[in-house]
């Protein structure tokens, strides 16, 4: 497969050879994008294993959705009066947390004007956007009365964290739309609208950061009201702060991981300079988070719980090791922090720890007080996988049809012109 790909490329090279001469860079660039598109298609046809899996998941997902909407939550989920929230809420937490990259990167690029990260702003915003859409869809499916999903818009209870989250998610999705709109508008050449949107982008980004901060932390606030139910290792009056800090590390790691996934699926080159820059950010956040967590455990006198022989303790330590210790060790190691394998494992490990943390807060920590163990039903898993599949396909579709990845290699001719002052320092002839 690979060989034939190269061959076809080569014959094209031959045809173009005569024109190329002297203008290699210009034509070369053009050709790049073309061949990239072809590669995308080729890849699409090649992913046969995942295609089969996708079809399978789609069938299971549609069936599960059918059961969910015709038979109700009781028949389709393992939720009960004692475990009113299950897998879906956990996935919502994880999805929103991993989408945090959207606002972190948007802020870095557009508020702090760090141009280094501009090239990943679009993919980050796109994945955040899709992530949010998925979470909203899952939340609506999870509602007992999905037909009433619009009620929070008109029926207000400003004391409810859930109300705040709903509004933040709605506002932030709108802002993500504004942030992502240029990608669509520039394709269809709506220049006027594009100009307006470009003008309001800075304000939108600032608002976006605020909304994200609020609702990322509010997911933690959801559990503030159940101090007697959440296992003390996870309960903290600083839960919102913990949620906020950890979502930044997880979001940045998710960008790193998705860079690998894109490299794999779209022949998109890895940019180790940007990835290791993100790695530095992850490292800083993880250290802050770890120190904060333990200082807090110590000051609230929960230290002894760390050594209690309970299931919760093991889960907690696993979370700390996967989500903090291992990635900190990798990212602080000069050998691995600029190494693609190292960064890959650091990101996976951070995300694993994050997944564990969110699932621990919303399931593990409540098992003891609810007195009932819960494991998701076939339909719950099916719908979850289905939504993940739809998100992946949506991402793929948009990447293939819009300019999400920017080619950031400047034409060297331009750059070098001003910079070349060749001095033969050592070559004396």
């Amino acid at each position: 497969m690979q060989k034939s790909e190269v061959r076809s490329q080569k014959s094209e090279d031959r045809d173009q050879r005569s024109e190329i001469k002297g203008q290699v860079l210009k034509t070369g660039r053009h050709r790049n994008s073309q061949s990239e598109i072809r590669n995308l298609k080729l890849n699409g046809a090649k992913l046969s294993f995942w295609k089969i899996v996708a079809v399978f998941i789609a069938v299971v997902g549609v069936y599960s959705l059918f059961v969910r909407f015709t038979k109700g939550l009781g028949a389709s989920t393992n939720l009960s009066d004692f475990v009113p929230w299950g897998l879906w809420i956990g996935i919502d937490f994880i999805g929103v947390g991993l989408a945090a990259a959207g606002f972190t990167i948007a802020a870095t690029a557009h508020i702090f004007h760090n141009h280094k990260y501009e090239s990943i702003a679009r993919p980050a915003i796109l994945s955040a956007y899709i992530g949010y859409m998925m979470v909203v869809a899952l939340l609506v499916i999870d509602l007992g009365k999905p037909e009433n999903f619009w009620h929070p818009l008109v029926m207000w209870n400003i004391h409810s964290v859930m109300f705040e989250i709903t509004w933040c998610v709605i506002c932030y999705s709108t802002i993500l739309t504004i942030e992502f709109a240029p990608v669509v508008l520039e394709k269809y050449k709506f220049d006027k609208l594009l100009k307006i949107i470009k003008k309001i982008t800075p304000a939108a980004v600032i608002l976006g950061v605020l909304f994200s901060t609020l609702h990322q932390s509010s997911f933690g606030s959801l559990y503030l009201i159940v101090p007697a139910k959440v296992y003390p290792l996870w309960y903290s009056s600083f839960l919102p702060v913990h949620f906020f800090i950890s979502c930044i590390a997880a979001g940045l790691s998710m960008i790193i991981l998705s860079a690998y996934l894109c490299a794999r699926a779209f022949k998109q080159g890895l940019n180790i300079r940007i990835l290791s820059g993100l790695g530095k950010g992850v490292l800083a956040v993880l250290i802050i988070e770890l120190v904060f967590k333990f200082v807090e455990l110590y000051s609230t006198g929960k230290f002894s719980l760390l050594f209690a022989q309970t299931g919760e303790t093991y889960f907690f330590w696993l979370e700390i090791f996967l989500g903090s210790v291992i990635p900190i060790w990798i990212l602080a190691n000069p050998k691995y922090k600029v190494n693609r394998t190292g960064l890959y494992f650091a990101s996976i490990s951070t995300i694993s720890g994050f997944i564990l943390n969110r699932m621990n807060v919303c399931v593990t920590s409540l098992v003891r007080s609810s007195g009932q163990s819960y494991s998701p039903s076939f339909e719950e898993v099916g719908i979850t996988l289905f939504l993940i599949l739809v998100s992946v396909l949506a991402f793929k579709f948009i990447v293939e049809n819009f300019r999400v990845f920017e080619e950031k290699v400047h034409d060297e001719v331009e750059v070098s012109k001003e910079e070349i002052e060749t001095k033969d320092l050592i070559f004396d002839k």
């Binding site: 190329i20 956990g90 890895l270 494992f345 997944i355 950031k408 060297e412 910079e419 320092l425 050592i426």
Partner: protein, 224 residues
């Protein structure tokens, strides 16, 4: 327990994907150490490799970010293929401030001289003394040239290529090289030795050119 299931599900997806990629006989991006450009437009079935995550300059020198913040610089395999078995004669002195495009390495093959240039701005910290007087065999490993502490790598990096972009560009470079060699050889007064061998090039063909042609080669392929 659910927490574990979700975690295992996530990891399982990645592991399966790894094996799917392996099954397709491709590299997983996380474990790819180098890229291969299979290129028999110029030379006969010689594959050229590019190290993963190195930034390659227009002058065929690569720069690799080190964990300690330094940048390691060396020459790429294109140079080895086109020039042949040259000997490194000189490296820039440690402590020198170099700009992007400044010469950092001199080499010679017979009586022909070549200069290789720095892809970044910075101060030279270390040089690979072992390399002086020797032939480059392992351009991405043992036989690196100098280490530089960069001044504004961010700015340099936007004009450098890495990974897939290098692969694309490298293919073009070989086409350019072939065109160049063809042009040189149709002007017999410029060509030192005949190097066309049934349409394919002899490895190290450039070294057979005369000095004027080599000057042109430097302008075309080695300057930044």
């Amino acid at each position: 327990m659910v927490a574990l299931y979700v975690l295992l599900g996530f990891i399982l997806l990645l592991v399966i994907d790894y094996f799917v990629i392996r099954g397709e006989k491709k590299y997983h991006p996380a474990f790819q150490k180098k890229y291969e450009v299979v290129e028999d437009v110029v030379f006969d079935n010689i594959s050229v490799t590019i190290p993963a995550d190195s930034y390659v300059s227009k002058g065929h020198t690569w720069a690799e970010l080190q964990g300690n913040g330094l940048i390691k610089i060396g020459v790429d395999e294109f140079i080895l293929r086109s020039i042949g078995r040259f000997i490194v004669t000189n490296l820039v002195n440690p402590g020198t401030v170099v700009k992007k495009g400044d010469v950092i390495m001199n080499a010679k093959l017979g009586d022909k001289n070549f200069n290789f240039r720095s892809p970044v701005d910075g101060t030279v910290n270390f040089v690979n003394d072992e390399l002086v007087g020797k032939t480059v065999f392992d351009p991405y490993g043992e036989d690196w040239g100098v280490m530089v502490s960069p001044i504004n790598f961010e700015r340099n990096a936007v004009s450098l290529r890495a990974n897939e972009k290098v692969v694309e560009w490298m293919k073009n470079e070989f086409i350019r090289l072939k065109d160049y060699l063809v042009e040189m050889s149709v002007q017999p007064q410029l060509a030192g030795v005949t190097m066309l061998d049934g349409g394919k090039m002899v490895e190290g063909a450039v070294a057979h050119l005369n000095k004027e042609s080599i000057k042109k080669f430097e302008d075309e392929f080695l300057t930044i």
